[in-house]
Symmetry: C5
Subunit: 297 residues, 5 copies
């Protein structure tokens, strides 16, 4: 997640350096053609690029909306994970009789591990990294052999709840309530996986690029009356605006790709850890450190 | 689902070859008319096609949005099927006492079969293909006689749950919980059938095509001052952009039609199979194979 | 629901014949005025109708969206009715012990009757037509006396469930589950009635028509330089596009008005009947007949 | 709610008479300035008001959407109240054993009273008007002393349900089901109060008016070449369209303000009364009277 | 929340004084350049800034929509808190037997405290301010040591409910119902925290500003034919409209930042307090005081 801090210009222009290069090449080529074979290129009424520009902004607006919705949905899913994780611990404390503090702690720790593991897994990173302090060693070994690590952690907690029911620490009714929360974790995981694995319709991006280049070409022909030291920067600036918006949208579409524009899943998992440790009355919970970059992962 | 791979140009232009042919005919006819009877055709201010172009992009944006929503809803429904299928197996493991492993396996396999069968049925393909390893032979025979195959599979699982209750392996309360999940499968199936069977208002498409051709005609009259070797390509390119976006939207509207832009229901069903087999602790689950095409079905 | 078949041109132009007549009158009047009193009419810059046209398409896009949403919501409600009806029968089979097959059949038939009756009632047609084979005669007589027929059918099923509970065929817990489904029917019915009884803000339509006529007038003045045999068709075509889109939207707004653009409630009710009869294991379920018109009611 | 009847022109123009007066003053002033000091006013390219007009329609479209959503949400909330009220009576009939008919009638009547009272309270009218036939006298006296009358009615019904449980007419499980419906009433009430009490961001309206006047001024300067007997009406008509749309949106934003554009809460409450009386098998339910105005309150 | 009162002009222009200063500087510089080196600056067709202005309004419309959605979601969350708080007290009165009035009062007061505390905490203010009359002293001391104060209050109420169950004042079934409401509080808190902690994609704002300045520069070059005493105000007014809309949107994006455009969380918490005290039959509930400013916090 980008923070409310100045974003380095370098980061921004790095994102569209290829596109800007092509725009420059087009602008200069048309300038050269105009200078050399003046009569070869026709008059281009300015209304043509102007209306194409309007069309671009309308289509772009569609893409901005849908990308933002994906990004916001990803954030909502992780918000749900925060809420349900806290409720989960509160429910265990509400339903389990005294004397089960150790079981609650184990399940709660596994839940923290699940959050970290899901975040890593969505980003394509090692889904069992740094879980040593949260999950018992032999369990961690078993999980490592599975394809879907977070699902394996969820199954361990399901089995633990089933064991508590068998030991009659939980009645059937409370077990069912807790089961609902486990279902919600499974749902949230599936929703995040859906966003991760669904490619935004690629043809839109292709056609949008096609129209932007069409715009650049027609605009540069239209503007040939203007001096080149003025026309080229204008061309670059207007097309930059379009490309930057398009690129921002594209980045928001994939909020789990280990980029600065990602949903801050690691930071959210750390918040969950702090909240759960507070609910378990653990002393000395470490404060979150201030991020020193322009983004938070 | 189109993947993040280069889409073959041939695939793209194949989609709008009829429309491009008409545009070419219109462009050449008007060029011929202009050459022959110069005074016959009136002056057309460029503002007319320009504003029609803007109107097209606004109406198109409406269609893009609604089509995308249909496509995304289809994907969400199948995401729900993933989540609920995994939760279903976890619930069975939570609620059924030890010794029911075989029953759980049978129900879980029928659930996998339901996913494949629903996907095939939505695409209008054989809904009982490749289910031999998942469903018992006599059951498969009975299903084949029914009109709605996935519904028949769902009814088999409902009957199995009812039998487990009768044999007192399940209490009423747990049965009700599992029933909720069965209702969710019925709901997801109905939602997918709704998208499949509801035709997007056809008149919109008709009127959109009408306006695009109106745009092509007025634009080609407006541009007759421009040399034909320049005007015709410009005409074709701008109208291509509109037709391609319209066609993309039309394809997304029907995400269950056995096309490359479909929701990848077969791949999703395979993921469910792998996940459920992991939950059943089956060894040697086959990895998903890398798709070697630009799409995934 | 309009099908994916060619829509007769006559059907389409019938919808806007009044509007086209007015446009023709305006176009010819202004042509006449121009011819006769050339200096009386001022110069009208083409930018005026152009920007009004853009404004129309933006406002129209708002109306298209909201109308589509109403239509899609109506379809979703009937999709829910499909899902819940199937789940209802599955639930009865899950919760009622053996020997209640006749009771299940009666309740299921009443549910089919409810679907047909609701569809008829929403369209303002006879809500007890063709229910003789589904509901007992004396019940049908009682229903006929009530104002809200589908609600009366729902109350009959509620009473039947209450009776099964009294006869101890159902425990309280299962009864509550079935009650949830009955509540869902009541909700779906209320949602459909809401769409039926809520008039889309009429002033929008009024103002939209006002702007379109303003557009027609300014455009026809702007275009007077163009020959009349060219100007009038152009005027008619562009304004047709706007009026057709507006009219399509208006039709979608009211999806229960016994028109070809309606939600296909009768066809959906027939699907429910076929599905429920399959679940009841009835032999010889009739296939749906292919519609031979361009729409399905 | 405005009905599908001709809306009196007087009603419509009354809504924007102030704005039209200002537009007239601006138009005439600029006409006078142009006549008197011709060189004082600069040339204004028509593209300036044209693009401002486009910007207005885009911003207006945002406002139309959000206002419509508020209005539609208000209607949905009252639709929910219809559904839940009917389900409430059905639930009481399902769960309470025979002999509680009088208790059901009392609770159902209080529910009808709640609907009327909530409608009045949202409109800022007397929230205990005309409830004498529905609620016992001493209860009505107690309610009158409370700040939030509908909440007091809801608490009375909650207490009645609690009493039925104490008298063992209801088991805990059924009581919980009925409690869910009571929670839904509390939720619907809170949602309606939210719409009532949340002011739509006022600055949007301010800025929109600012831009419309900017548009009127630039347009009237642009059009000074046109004869005044033509220019002033054109100016007034175009700006009317904007102001009327803006005003329609503003009215929809506040659907509980005792205006013709309100959600028809009184009519809906009357429908609920008729439906509940049908469910209670009361004879001689009065038909709804045909509204003789162009709106329904 | 801004009220339906005149907003001081000073407040409004204060928000964009930096931007207006830059616009003024640009306008004057270009005027000076035009006067001094007339031939240095090229002709700029008015269509360029016109189409950029249209693009700005489209992108702005995207931002207005998303910001409004955040603001409206924040208001919905607090509406849910109102509803659930009232339902919570009604539920306690429904489920707890007579003699628990003091326990109900304690829990209800803690709930009021939670509302105030959450509001303060979201705004970054002291989350335990003014809670002395609502929460016992020793509890307040414990809460002060925790990082997340509202979560600590919620845990206290959860523990109190668990104690009532242990003392057999509540059966398991009613406890579960109340637990659902506690989960809803946890969810609402998490949703508000999500809005608070998620930065709206900063790059959009950056690019929007970039385009607006591009617009100002191209427009001021286009307009150089117009007298400066007319051009500069026009430039400032049009760009003001854009900057004001952009700034309004930005303010709505962060509805918990202790600004006049905030969601009125303190006022809502006060309403909850009054409603809960009414449900507890407390006498002499203080009326809400009329706000004497143009906003409500």
């Amino acid at each position: 997640m980008l923070l409310n801090k100045p974003v380095p210009l370098r980061y921004i222009f790095n994102k569209i350096r290829h596109e800007l290069f092509y725009v420059l090449v087009i602008g200069l080529s048309i300038f050269y053609l105009t200078q050399t074979f003046d009569s070869a290129l026709p008059e281009m009424p300015i209304a043509i690029p102007a209306f194409i520009g309007t069309a671009i902004s309308v289509i772009l607006s569609f893409k901005l909306n849908q990308s933002y919705d994906r990004w916001w949905e990803a954030r909502k899913i992780w918000g749900t994970i925060v809420n349900e994780s806290r409720s989960f611990v509160l429910q265990l404390q509400l339903f389990l009789p005294k004397g089960n503090e150790e079981a609650i702690r184990q399940i709660a720790y596994r839940q923290i591990a699940w959050c970290y593991s899901l975040g890593q897994s969505l980003r394509g990173l090692n889904a069992t990294a740094n879980l040593e302090n949260l999950v018992a060693g032999e369990e961690l070994d078993k999980i490592s052999l599975q394809e879907n690590k977070p699902l394996a952690l969820l199954q361990l907690n399901t089995a633990h709840i089933a064991k508590l029911k068998e030991e009659e620490q939980l009645d059937r009714f409370s077990q069912v309530q807790i089961n609902t929360t486990l279902v919600n974790f499974s749902t949230a995981m599936g929703m995040a996986e859906r966003i991760k694995s669904t490619v935004f319709p690629v043809t839109y991006r292709l056609f949008l690029h096609l129209i932007i280049y069409l715009f650049v070409i027609t605009l540069s022909i239209s503007l040939r009356g203007i001096e080149s030291y003025f026309e080229i920067p204008l061309l670059v600036l207007i097309s930059s605006a379009f490309f930057l918006l398009e690129r921002s949208a594209t980045h928001l579409q994939d909020p789990f790709s280990n980029k600065p524009t990602d949903t801050a899943v690691t930071a959210i998992a750390a918040t969950i850890e702090r909240n759960i440790r507070q609910l378990l009355n653990e002393p000395g919970i470490k404060k979150p450190s201030e991020p020193d970059q322009f983004y938070l992962l």
